[in-house]
Structure formats: structure tokens, C-alpha cells
């Protein structure tokens, strides 16, 4: 509810009628930065419709939907790589979210020795450049004689995602009201029932946010994947390899489809939230 006070306080200043031309600078600047952020995406989408001849998708040569029509057949290896990416992201997200949530729970609701070293162990992977994480994992796999394939990619992705999950879940648990758990216990629920009926539903949004973050990091990871992948390629690795000989328009098409699906997901999610918000009664527990 802090957001409400902030928004209701600021318009008093923001909406004061002003002839000051300087007042337009900040919004104009923000608009330009948004354009800067979106420019490469616009280029990606537009050139997915390019009717190119030859190998290089560099100049506009006419409109076509051909690359969309053949998207599932014309680049089978790209689709294999995309499938690998999805498998890696789903598996590593599930594992990292489970392991990270457990650590987050332990950190926020138990007193125990060794918090300092544990916090360091959580923080260091976030503070280490990806190239060093990847290199060290390669050193591990090479010296252990482990063949690198999709399993080693998953292992690496779980590793770098655990920390992000812990940080996200812990942030969510900071304001947790333990009275509701005590109320459940007073009403005769055992610890197991209390956890699944009271605690888990309340922290679930935090866990979901952490899982979404982990999924986003995993599916787009390039650096650590490049060091830990052997024969199995992921989508970013395949695109990188293809970029050396000219990126086929199918990459633009697949990028556009993924982008569209992500936007659809966000829109659906916010609509669901709005509906929940409208139907929620004022006596909801998380208030």
C-alpha cells in the first residue's frame, strides 16, 4: 500500500500546470530510451518478413510470409535446439526453485549457526561473472572426465539459478505474518497441514516470481551454456553459431513468435491478477 501513498503524493507536484519547457524533458528522454530498448526487437520482427535472396538478411528485399509458413520444417536443427532450451529451462527451473525455496525458508524462519558463510555462498555466484562460472564448471567436468551434454547444462543452470531464487523468495518472506500459522496450530492443525494449507499458499506468489525469473535466465543463457554444452545445442548457442555464416530469417521468425507468446502470457497474467483483485474480499489473510 506504500505505492498508493507515493502515487497520490506525487501528482500534487506533477500535475501542477507548468509552462516550464524543462518539465517535458524527462518524459521525452524516457520515451527515447524506450525506443532505444525496443529498436533491435523491432528490427528482428520486421526482418522476419524479409523476402531475401542469398544468405545475408541485411537489406530489405520485399514482404513475404514464407518464413512463417515453413517455420517448423525449414530449420530442423534450430527447432531441436529450441526444444533442448525448453527442456533445460523447465527442468532447471523446477530443481532450482525447489532447492532455493528451501534455503529461503530456512534463512527467514530458523535461527541456526553458519548464516554468515551461507549468505556468502548465496551471494558469490551472483557476484561472479558468467565467464568465470562457466570456465570453472568446464574445469570440473574435464578433470572429472564427465562427457558434456544436456545434463551438464542443466546442472550449471540449477547452480546459477539457486541464488536468484533464494534472494527472491527471502524478499517475499520478510513481511510474513507468523500469527496466521500460530492460529492454524491453535485450531488443531499439525505442522504439515499448517505448511500446505497456510504457509505455502501465502508464499506461493514469491515462489512463482522466483520460478519465472529462473526460467527467463535459463532459457536465454549463453555464456555458461557455451562452456558446459558438449554435443547438445540450445537455441542461443545455435543462433550464435548461425550468425557466423549469416542469420537465417527463421531466427527472426522464431524470436518474434517467442516474443509474442511472452507478451500474451504477461497480458493474460495481469488480467487474471485484476480479476483476483476485483473478487477478493477485504478479509483476505495477506492484508
Amino acid at each position: 500500500m506504500t505505492t498508493d501513498t507515493a502515487t497520490s503524493a506525487s501528482p500534487a507536484v506533477a500535475r501542477r500546470p507548468r509552462r516550464d519547457p524543462a518539465a517535458a524533458i524527462l518524459p521525452a528522454f524516457t520515451g527515447l530510451v524506450v525506443l532505444f530498448l525496443l529498436l533491435p526487437i523491432i528490427v528482428m520482427i520486421v526482418f522476419g518478413f524479409n523476402d531475401l535472396r542469398g544468405r545475408f538478411n541485411f537489406t530489405w528485399q520485399g514482404f513475404t510470409l514464407e518464413h512463417y509458413a515453413n517455420i517448423f520444417t525449414s530449420q530442423p536443427r534450430m527447432n531441436d535446439a529450441l526444444l533442448n532450451s525448453i527442456i533445460v529451462a523447465v527442468v532447471s527451473t523446477l530443481v532450482a526453485t525447489a532447492l532455493g525455496t528451501l534455503i529461503g525458508l530456512a534463512l527467514s524462519r530458523y535461527e541456526f549457526r553458519g548464516r554468515g558463510p551461507l549468505n556468502l555462498l548465496i551471494f558469490l555466484p551472483i557476484a561472479t561473472p558468467e565467464v568465470v562460472l562457466g570456465a570453472s564448471l568446464l574445469a570440473l567436468f574435464v578433470s572429472a572426465g564427465v562427457a558434456r551434454d544436456i545434463t551438464t547444462i542443466v546442472i550449471a543452470h540449477v547452480m546459477f539459478n539457486i541464488s536468484y531464487v533464494v534472494v527472491t523468495v527471502r524478499a517475499r518472506l520478510v513481511g510474513f505474518n507468523r500469527n496466521v500459522e500460530e492460529a492454524a496450530a491453535d485450531l488443531g492443525a499439525d505442522e504439515w497441514t499448517t505448511f500446505w494449507k497456510v504457509t505455502f499458499p501465502l508464499i506461493f506468489p514469491g515462489i512463482l516470481a522466483a520460478a519465472m525469473l529462473a526460467f527467463a535466465f535459463s532459457i536465454d543463457d549463453f555464456v555458461i551454456t557455451q562452456f558446459t554444452a558438449g554435443i547438445d545445442q540450445t537455441f542461443p548457442l545455435w543462433v550464435y553459431g548461425a550468425s557466423r555464416i549469416g542469420v537465417p530469417p527463421e531466427v527472426n521468425v522464431m524470436g518474434t513468435i517467442i516474443f509474442g507468446l511472452a507478451i500474451l502470457g504477461i497480458v493474460a497474467w495481469s488480467l487474471l491478477q485484476r480479476r483476483d483483485h476485483l473478487t477478493a474480499t477485504p478479509t483476505r489473510m495477506d492484508r
Binding site: T30, V34, I41
Partner: protein
Amino acid sequence: MAGWLRRHRGLVPYLFLLPGGAWLILFFVLPMLIMASVALQEGTLGTGYQLTFNFGIFPEVLGRYDAQFIRSLVYALIVTALTLAIGYPMAYTIAFRGGRYKNVLLLLVILPFFTSFIIRTISWKFILADQGFVLGTLKEIGILDEGFRLLATPVAVISGITYNYLPFVVLPLYVALEKIDYRLVEAATDLYASRAQAFLRVTLPLSMSGVFAGSLLAFIPAAGDYINAELLGGTRETTMIGNVVQTLYLTNNDYPQASAISLILMAGLILGVIAYQRILRGQELTV
């Protein structure tokens, strides 16, 4: 099991920590130790390696790759300064002037994450191309000299890295600014502070947590980046230390040198983060 746990309550948090902690020890701490030992070994991939405690390798690689170390540091500092200079006004605008468009603006900031980082960087390569639709057009009109180029220059590499990490800086800045009670700023102006003074003495100090988190989220990955340097640079004059590690590890198979460089990079960054935290006293280490 449940009864045993009830009698040993102190063990519960450790059970929560065990799987995630073990994963981090096996796939983060252990690889770092192996990398440290590899750095101190001599030999080749063909003949095998022997641990000779060759500490001389650290000054050796520092001397051999000093240009790339310094370039990475300089690029990362410029990128951090640029992302703060661009990101702060933007986050400020969204937090204080966003009104009901706040969420839409935030969505626009994270929209780049919905497309692959590799595809976006390749898009930039295309936008900045010598005869691409931007430079090519400007050259045709005669605004730019025929020989003018952006690709393969430090400008392209620094812009690319700035682009990639800008959203990571805007988000924590926004979170910090959004938390500020605007009445404090109003109190300052009521007490005859000019708007500049109110900003410098109230808003800016209160947003330092965001500046701290944001600058780390830009500086650390920027210092280890090699994709922008490779795709947008690609010349000897833009080679960063990440490119050196990648080439030594994945192309030359010179594991001792690559490991030594990785360790120096990591140690340097950790010391830098600690020093930075001292300068901005009191900022939390965890993001």
C-alpha cells in the same frame, strides 16, 4: 521420522539447506577449487598436467594480457556510468511522473528480456552495419563520410554492453526511488530548498541503495562480457578479458592460463565490490 525431527528441532534448518547447499558446494565451490589447482599446474592437454604450484603464472598472465584487463575495466566503468546516467532519469520519471502508466513503462523496460540476448546483439550488429539502413542512409545523404564506421570500434562494443545491462540498472533504481516518501521532498522545498538542492540532499541520498545494486548489476557482467566484444567488435582493439578466457579455454585448450585469468578477474571484482560498499557505507551486499 516426524518424532525424531521433533526431538532434534535444531536439525530442521540444516535439512532445508542440505540439497541446495550441497549443489552450490559441488558445482560452485568445488569447481573454483579445481580451477585454482588447474591454474597452478603445468603441461598440455596432450601430455597431461602436473601440479607444480606455479604461482608465477599470475604475474605472467597479468603481464601478457594487461591491455585486455585494463580495457575490460575501462569499458565496464564507462558502461556503469552510462547506464546510471541513462537509467536514473528514466527510473525517476517512472517513479515520480509515471502516474497510471507506471506498470506499462516498467513492462517496456523489461520487454527486451522477452527476446534472446544473442538475437538482440545480432540485431545491433545489423543496425550499426557499415552499409546498413542507418549508416548507409546517412552516408548517402552525405551527413557521414563514406569511410565512417561504428562496427568493430570501442563505441559499438560499449553501446552494446550498455544496451544489454540498462534494464538491470533501471529496475533497482526504480525500486529505490519508488520507496521514497515524496512528502520528504516537499518538506525540503517548503523549507526553501531549491529543486536541485532537494534532489541532491533528499532524493539522491535516499536512492543510493538502488545506485549500489544497479551499478553492481551492470559492472560485474560488463567486466566479464565477451559476446558484445566479439559480435560488435571483433578486432584486436576491442578484445576484452572475457574473450581471452573464452579463446584460451574453448579454442586453445590452455587451461592453466585461462584458470589463472578467471581467478584474477573474480578476485579483482570481489575486492572492488567490497571497496565500493565501503565507499557507499552501509549498503547491503545481497542484491
